[in-house]
Amino acid sequence: MSSRTSRTGGPARAGQYLALLAYLVFLAFPFLWLISTSFKPSRELGSLHPTWIPKDPTLANYRQAFDEQPLLEAAGNSLVAALTAALVAVVIATPMAYVMARHRTLLARAATGWVVVSQAFPFVLVIIPLFLVLKNLHLINSLPGLIMVYVVWALPFALWMLVGYVRAVPPELEEAAAVDGASKLRTLVSVTAPLLAPGIVATALFAFITAWNEFFFALVLLKTPEKQTLPVVLTHFLGAEGAADLGPLAAAAFLATLPSLVVFAVIQKRITGGMLAGAVKS
């Protein structure tokens, strides 16, 4: 690694950093603009020469957003739906992924193929049958119904991700544990699970963010205002033909992104940390 680093020349390294900086700016621009917009009074929003820093910053957009829409209630619904969906998806997907990665049977291959195929179904194709199924189960207009959909929706990709993580854990570790006399369960709990933790966290994060941002299922399945989730409530700031109540929308959208940011900030080390650091010596 160090020899490769030393071969990278100064200009090349500068170019790399420049590209990275450009990419970061590209990613950060909409978010920073959103924050800036959320603090601007309506007259500044119509300015031909907008500024990054609001000339006359105000919290009026936040006040209006909270006054007009039940943001806290909706955020609570979103949090419950997203957290539950993420946990359940991971709990189901982890043992499935282990079996599919370690036992390459015909069934496992067929299951993998089905997972890939299931990703090709568009929302519009499944929404009406899904609606009817949930209606028969009396799960329309209920968070458990929505959570069930989110779990099913997240499961294929979660499974796909976790199979990769399981395959990256060398079977030799489990074999060594068996040689040392550990039972299968003990091996899974004490060896495999800790090594899989970053993958499980990454998968949970993926499932959480997917559910947190999901709009269409929530729109269709939840009927009463007190059960609606945040993405649905955010559209209440939008009118016909692209008209929008821009200030309150920006304020509410900024608040809606905060939980994702916080969750990511808290657990990112678990994702980026070396997955097998210290476990194996070459």
Binding site: E68, V80, S190, H236, G242, V280
Partner: protein, 451 residues
């Protein structure tokens, strides 16, 4: 390779750190608690007990504060005076109403009373999802709304919605700029003709990025078709056998040619705004780049809120043609779901909701015009303030938007007309190619829907 001691498998992110089981357990406990609470609280929810009263769900698409307030107040007033029929207010969204309603209809879970727009009703009406309101509505309401408005929500001779709010397209002008140019100020009684409008925009254009007009034509089809009614352009015609066909005649050419020439010949219209929505043009309008912007009447609200202090603006009628100030509109509508078990009660609520005084409140909340003749007489809608009077004077000229009841129109609009008009307005294609694409390609689309 060999494995290190089993019992010392380190935390992957902190290889040298001692484990912190308490924190992990606490986190797990909190997550489990949240999950359990969520499931329990959600499971305990139900659709409400039955107390013998009828409950109607009213899905409203009102989104601006004044409009939402007006809607909610009216629902409260109804509920206070009608204890036997309770109306539950449900807020929907314009951005996804079609898909949401379609799913709800298919699943038998649609709201009883549905707020939408007339140009979105055709599929639902032909699909049997909406109730025919012909026999349900009282005579008062039927006679209060002009036939031209009823026509917008009538499909196959049946009425599937009550049109109640509408807005003409108007010119919103920088009043100071217009005054200083010396141009004649048009009025509803004496509007500009299309050639006069083109001439005025040439005069107003000052070069250096200052244009006489900015056409926001991100969605060019409805603007083109609706304004073309003023020149007698219909585009969609009914044959003797009742089937629709597209013909692009001399009257249909006037508006597209005017816009095309303003952008590409006179340079009096900004080419940059052709791909913009109405709101996107406002900063340039406030910043003195454009003297006029053709917009829906309700955009006055945004302008009143966002215009810089001292910015002097005014509303002008859109130019007139051979058919005067006629233009097409797709009013907002209230419909009743066919599956609703309480259609009569829903119709009673609609009648209450659209009483003249209530229609005025709704119109003011949305900065739009009511369809009701009595509501239009209200002094609050004839005031000079914010040029309400100009819009009210235009109400009698509003007609159903062309083609909204033609099956296959949405596909023609998306696949044929939108790209063809965008290319024509930007100068990429000429009038002959525009005609060929709108008519020949368009009729092929319609044919598929009319077999």
């Amino acid at each position: 390779m060999r494995a290190e001691g089993l019992m010392r498998a380190p935390r992957p992110d902190r290889p040298d750190h001692p484990r912190r089981p308490r924190r992990s357990r606490t986190l797990a406990a909190v997550l489990a608690l949240v999950t359990a609470c969520g499931l329990l609280s959600a499971c305990s929810d139900d659709d409400g007990g039955s107390d013998g009263r009828i409950t109607l769900r009213f899905q409203s698409l009102a989104w601006q504060k004044e409009s939402v307030d007006a809607n909610k107040e009216l629902v409260r007033e109804w509920n206070a005076t009608h204890p036997d029929v309770r109306v539950e207010y449900v807020q929907g969204s314009w951005t996804s109403v079609h898909d949401q309603l379609l799913t709800s209809f298919e699943g038998g879970e649609a709201p009883d009373i549905i707020h939408d727009a007339s140009d979105d009703l055709a599929d639902f009406a032909y699909g049997g999802y909406l109730a025919d309101l012909g026999e349900l509505l009282p005579r008062r309401l039927k006679s209060d709304i002009p036939q031209a408005s009823w026509d917008t929500a009538t499909f196959g001779g049946k009425v599937y919605g009550v049109p109640f709010l509408q807005e003409p397209r108007v010119l919103i002008a920088n009043a100071k700029w217009l005054r200083e140019s010396g141009a004649r100020i048009p009025t509803p009684e004496k509007p500009w003709s299309w050639p006069e409008f083109r001439s005025v925009t040439r005069e107003l254009t000052e070069g250096k990025g200052k244009f006489g007009v900015a056409w926001p034509l991100k969605e060019p089809v409805s603007a083109t078709l609706n304004l073309s009614l003023s020149t007698g352009g219909k585009l969609f015609h009914r044959r003797a056998d009742g089937k629709a066909e597209i013909r692009f005649e001399a009257a249909d050419e006037v508006l597209p040619r005017t816009v095309h020439d303003q952008v590409n010949v006179d340079r009096s219209a900004s080419s940059a705004t052709l791909g913009m929505g109405g709101s996107d043009t406002l900063p340039g309008f406030f910043g003195g780049k454009y003297a006029m912007v053709p917009l829906g009447f309700s955009y006055r609200q945004q302008i009143a809120q966002q215009a810089p202090k001292g910015f002097d603006w005014q509303v002008l009628p859109a130019p007139a043609g051979a058919d005067g100030l006629a233009q097409g509109v797709s009013p907002q509508t209230l419909s009743v779901a066919e599956d609703s078990p309480h259609k009569k009660e829903a119709a009673r609520f609609i009648d209450f909701f659209l009483r003249p005084a209530n229609m005025v409140r709704l119109a003011r909340g949305d900065w739009m015009l009511p369809t009701g003749k009595e509501a239009l007489k209200d002094p609050a809608l004839r005031t000079e303030k914010d040029d309400w009077a100009i819009g009210t004077a235009l109400a009698e000229h509003l007609r159903p938007a062309p083609a909204q009841s033609v099956r296959g129109y949405p596909e023609w609009m998306d696949k044929i007309a939108t790209p063809a008009l965008q290319e024509y307005y930007s100068g990429a294609i000429g009038m002959d190619e525009l005609r060929e694409r709108l008519v020949e390609d368009g009729n092929l689309v319609l044919k598929r829907y009319q077999r």
